[in-house]
Subunit: 61 residues, 6 copies
């Protein structure tokens, strides 16, 4: 703990995932004053037909 | 906010996902008295070998 | 399965939760063509200081 | 990783939570062949008015 | 309810998933004193580039 | 979307939550190149008897 989860539409690069992991972990470590080893981060990626805002799928926008 | 998540076995059509997004958002907007723009809906789909009830995988039923 | 999760800021009434459960389950049953008995719905409520949009906590808005 | 989450109606004892943590972690370690130190387990507890099955809140059953 | 979720890096066999479902359900039934039919278990699998610990993706380790 | 969730043991201050919201949102906006308005962040807080690592509850450590 802590456990960070980022949900997003699929299509980001490996480099973006790597930077998310590095930067979000570093900031959580700093703000919550915990050791890096206890921080886990998991990314959920979704096809645009599985995410809607205001009732409309992203694949229909 | 609010944030709606539906987890289900994979295999539904795009039309079913579209109707889930439209209808569930519309009902949450009505019941909670919020604006449609603040409602997000995300669908998690699972292969039948990743979901069990009563200790038995759906792929084994 | 399916499993429905609604996350929202706390403060809704029991009657609103009851209607969410009834209506969202009924619509999921109809759209996905499943039996009501297999549908679970869980509500996560958050204090406004635990939810942010655009980087700002709801308790600060 | 792995990360185990158990969602349940509130009201269980500390002893039951302790046994959940010990036993589920031990079994995941054995089945997935991982080290205990990498396994996290988190319990979400819900009031019975926040969980429904078949469209009916547990608090109404 | 209860609802068990296991998140893990992808690559496990069907037999491991089957055993997770059987054993974790059996233990939750025993510890919480519930009927097997009310226990659901869902497995989320992640590519190693979507999971980080200590700020480093598993795919980079 | 994106949707950020941070799970942690309870006991952090409002100021820490505010900084988590501001900083994590800012970094996700920068890395994923999205607008701030589409980013939601939700914090789940747990009592130490509801979180275990290596099979041991934090409240027992």
């Amino acid at each position: 703990m802590p456990f960070i989860n980022v949900k997003m539409i699929q299509g980001r690069t490996l480099e973006q995932k790597r930077e998310l992991a590095e930067v979000l972990t570093r900031e959580v470590v700093r703000i919550l004053n915990v050791k890096p080893e206890v921080v886990e981060l998991v990314i959920d990626e979704y096809p645009s037909e599985n995410w809607a805002s205001a009732g409309k799928l992203y694949s229909d926008k």
